[in-house]
Point group: C2
DNA sequence: CCTGGTTAATCGGTATACTGTTTATTCGAA
DNA sequence: TTCGAATAAACAGTATACCGATTAACCAGG
């Protein structure tokens, strides 16, 4: 996933991509090419090309005032999950079939970290461990086109995932589903993995829709509140 | 699909994408940013950004001497078809369910053009009509993420498709499969569409693998032949 | 205070110029 | 004639500079 390699565009792209995965960029942030260029000690063009690539891949949107992370509508979430439902259960099943001991160990380690982070209520660690878990089983997917497509569709949800984990009860249900999938992997049972992943997909969709709906309501409220505020008192 | 809009990068990107779809770019062509810039009356940067976008989407590869269309390995073909098998039958079924009369008419018109082109042995027209047919049913796919993903995976095959259509017998079988799908659409039977699309996927994969295998063999032969030639006589 | 219009800042898009690396070519020596 | 080294050309990557559009800040008049 990370390829700093020798070229500035790729380096900046990977860096931004990682920050997106780790939810280190919030929807209110504005990414400006000159800032990113300065932060990386390069000129505007590499930063700009990295940003444009993220836009064309659907992670960012260009506004008239800097680039911002793309906010998912409820329809987006449903649509993205429709694709994920078609791909991930089957891919996970093939991963269960073709998994090496190394991958199995990585999966277990990631699951441990997930549960530890859950216990300590450490949201950033939870996000990171969650990404590790999925990357671990994706490694066992032999088809690189399949793996890349799935990885991409998962990454659209990082911003929403943050909200999911913030709520304790939802997080626990989410992690429980993950754990069930993990146990199916341990049993080396592709069909069980497939079924549990299917269930997980539906549960995750529902959770994300709930979270997003709440986010949208809150955004709406704070917007009207701010309007009222600016109308009354000015600094 | 085509959005010339107001910005040069998008305009050049759409133009190149269209040329790729129509197989107007061969694997031996070298796309150089300065040439493309000159052809569009712009500077290098927009052309370059369009090219880089096509690279990041997997349609082109950057070589040390210009950009070239990405050649698919046999593993690529199998892998890409594994994804297509998961997505297209189900998406086509939903298209059959949600299809409007307008889409139905468009589908019929495209099918007519396909058969006419087949009769006249007009390969470029066949390619174009084939693209029209798939775009027509994709219009009825309500989920834009699904449609975009499918569209993208289909476009990887344009270079190989040319080879498929060049062989009369293969082309006829391909078109027959398309026609059967079309009749299922006409019957408004989502399940029939799904099943026939599934069959079509397997047949198409086999055809593409055959064509590509032949291409690779021929390339190998001509390469050794050229080597021998340059060794003997120099101009 | 509120409103409307004018100015200033911000930022994306495009152009041009420069650099380093890779490949092709040419020319000379074996 | 062949091989290899020097040289030239091609091309991607990067930097800098300019322009135009959009938006925010500011100010004057109600």
């Amino acid at each position: 996933m990370a390829k700093p390699s020798d070229n500035l565009v790729d380096a900046i792209y990977s860096d931004l991509r990682l920050k997106l995965q780790r939810s280190m960029i919030t929807p209110s942030d504005r990414l400006v090419d000159t800032d990113i260029a300065a932060a990386n000690g390069s000129s505007r063009m590499p930063a700009r090309e990295a940003l444009l690539r993220l836009v064309s891949e659907g992670y960012l949107v260009g506004t008239t005032r800097g680039f911002a992370i793309r906010e998912l509508s409820l329809e987006d979430i449903s649509g993205l999950f429709e694709v994920r439902r078609q791909l991930e259960p089957r891919a996970a099943a093939s991963a269960a079939r073709d998994m090496t001991p190394a991958v199995e160990a990585e999966l277990a380690a990631a699951m441990d970290r997930v549960e530890q982070a859950l216990g300590e209520n450490d949201i950033p660690a939870l996000l990171a461990a969650n990404v590790d878990f999925r990357n671990a089983w994706l490694k066992a997917v032999r088809n690189p086109h399949m793996a890349a497509t799935i990885s991409r569709f998962m990454d659209y949800f990082q911003s929403v995932r943050l909200g999911t984990f913030a709520d304790g009860a939802t997080a626990e249900r989410y992690i429980d589903g993950l754990s069930r999938i993990h146990r199916a992997f341990l049993a080396h049972d592709p069909l069980m993995v497939q079924d549990r992943m299917t269930l997980f997909m539906f549960a995750a969709e529902e959770a994300y829709l709930d979270v997003r709906q709440r986010q949208l309501r809150e955004a709406e409220m704070s917007r009207t509140a701010r309007r009222r505020y600016t109308k009354r008192g000015t600094a």
